[in-house]
């Protein structure tokens, strides 16, 4: 009994340690956003005690056109989420339900895309985008659609794997019943499969949104004007030639985290349910 209790205590201690280690950077970010420039420059975030100043949350919008980056992120991430979720849903359903020539090759191909580091795609992608712009007159670099197209391609494979597990878990007999009840195959998918798999779809959509919101490398390298750049790129501008405004940067980082946090907490139950189903059945 004593051993069991001490084991439980140890597990709790371990859990809380991990939680603390995970939350510490976030705590530091929020704390720093509530300190003034000199506090941070002196490394005195903790010295100021409970005296908080909120001016950073006003100045961050003025010092850099942060609203613009926020707007770009919102547009790019929302459209990416929309397109990637739709394509992943259709592909995952097909892979879960149908045996067709090349279905194994497609599955293997999707897996392979996940083990290749994304950065390796940068050079060929950059050249391809430039070529498309030059040869076909469709600008891809420094555009919303260029970034959206890339993100959809980058995030769809992982989303397919999550959703595939979810579709496999849905009994085939439900679709059979719907077909006998008068649905076409597509009708059964829309009326029966989609509503049942809503938690999985919402979880996947949230997952895609989080990935797109945080993406820095391609957003930085494939864009050059502030009319397209996203928050991760914009935040860098608080580090200037003469001054590093970490106070404003931390405030901007805190603000940029809010939509993601809201999205996550709003969809938390779907997120856990959806990913768990995918993990077990995938």
């Amino acid at each position: 009994m004593t051993t069991k209790r001490s084991n439980t205590w140890l597990l709790n201690a371990l859990t809380w340690s991990i939680v603390l280690v995970t939350l510490l950077p976030i705590f530091w970010m929020v704390l720093s956003s509530l300190r003034n420039y000199s506090d941070i420059a002196d490394g005195g975030q903790l010295d100021a005690g409970l005296t908080f100043q909120w001016q950073n949350y006003v100045d961050m919008w003025i010092n850099v056109d942060f609203f613009n980056f926020f707007k770009n992120s919102l547009i790019i991430c929302t459209l990416t989420t929309l397109f990637a979720t739709v394509s992943a849903t259709c592909a995952a359903y097909a892979l879960a339900r149908f045996r067709f020539h090349g279905s194994n090759a497609v599955s293997v191909g999707i897996t392979i895309t996940q083990v290749i580091p994304g950065m390796l795609f940068f050079l060929p992608l950059y050249m391809l985008y430039r070529k498309i712009g030059e040869s076909y007159g469709v600008p891809m670099l420094d555009t919303y659609h260029g970034l959206i197209f890339l993100y959809v391609a980058l995030f769809t494979p992982a989303s397919i794997w999550i959703m595939r597990g979810f579709f496999i878990a849905i009994p085939r007999e439900l679709e059979d019943a719907a077909i006998i009840d008068g649905c076409s195959r597509f009708g059964a998918f829309v009326r029966i499969v989609l509503p049942i798999s809503a938690p999985g779809i919402i979880a996947t959509a949230t997952f895609i949104f989080l990935l797109a919101w945080d993406e820095l490398f391609f957003a930085w390298t494939l864009t050059s004007s502030s009319s397209v750049q996203t928050i991760p790129v914009g935040i860098r501008l608080f580090i200037g030639q003469y001054q590093h405004r970490y106070d404003l940067m931390m405030a901007a980082a805190t603000v940029s985290t809010l939509p993601v946090l809201i999205a996550f907490f709003a969809c938390q139950r779907f997120f856990i349910k959806g990913l768990a189903a995918g993990a077990v059945k995938g």
Partner: protein, 364 residues
Amino acid sequence: MASVSFKNISKQYTKDESVIKGVDFTIEDGEFVVFVGPSGCGKSTLLRMVAGLEDITGGELYIDNVLANDLHASKRGVAMVFQSYALYPHMTVQQNMGFALKMAGAPKTEISEKVNKAADILQITHLLERKPKALSGGQRQRVAIGRAIVRDPKVFLFDEPLSNLDASLRQNMRIELSRLHHDLGTTMIYVTHDQVEAMTLADRIVVFNGGLVQQIGKPLALYDNPCNLFVAGFLGAPRINLLAGHLVGNGSAELVLAGGQHLCADVDAARGKAGDAVTLGIRPEHVQLAQAADGIAATIILVEHLGDQILVYISIAGVAEELCMKLPGHTSNLHYGDTIHVRLGRENCLLFDQAGVAFTRTVL
């Protein structure tokens, strides 16, 4: 109500993989027919072909005398009850039951009227607003049946509908299904691997094995006069006793067992020749206790008391196969290791040739 005719129906998934190998029979209007057979014998595939969920590779399927090979599932006038119930989890019971009518564009009042009527029949009116996850297994099965009733189908299809229920609930649902068939008078096709369900529910049983129909007939006709060893072995619990032996003379229905015991069967063995390997079959309830003078000596190897009956497993000297005998309950003077004498009455014995085909019985 409708008849269902299978005209040389076959099903192949690949060139080399034939699941149904030419099935030819007719289910009459209002009949309750049960398909039985081991897993993979093709019975469920055939049912799904009737439902329109599987393409038909060859042959013709007629439902109500209309060629149905290429008809969409919803246009065939069939309703299906699945093993896993297949209730739509995001819909209430009422929505589940009315879904087919909604898809057919029926007015709301008609849907509501039909759903309520079906719910009345199955006594599930109080469940109409619930979601499937809030129902017990038995209630879910009733809803699944209700969903089928609402469609007012010409043919009901049941794909092992009681397999997920516990034993007592299964028995209750069996009785209810029988009553439902009696009340509705609709043609019903029922797939199961449970021979008790087959024997108790069916007007006629179709026994499948390896994609072929082995025998079609009334339950007791199949039980008493199986056409081959497979049917004899498949129907009946405990399983029929089978003893290997050789015919004693040409055209004689007398055989000798490996242990030298002589037995006779009331069958027409005209096509048999002396020395032919044959198999004698006798049901456990037909193995009787006998006096030493007119019985075969056997040793008891196990006694199972089931309350209303006792199953006694015995071994006959020189015979490899063990026999099971079913005796009335409270026959308490039988114990492990006892030597008893048993009579295998010739009027109850079945005889099968080397290919497993039964010799025709002369006593019915």
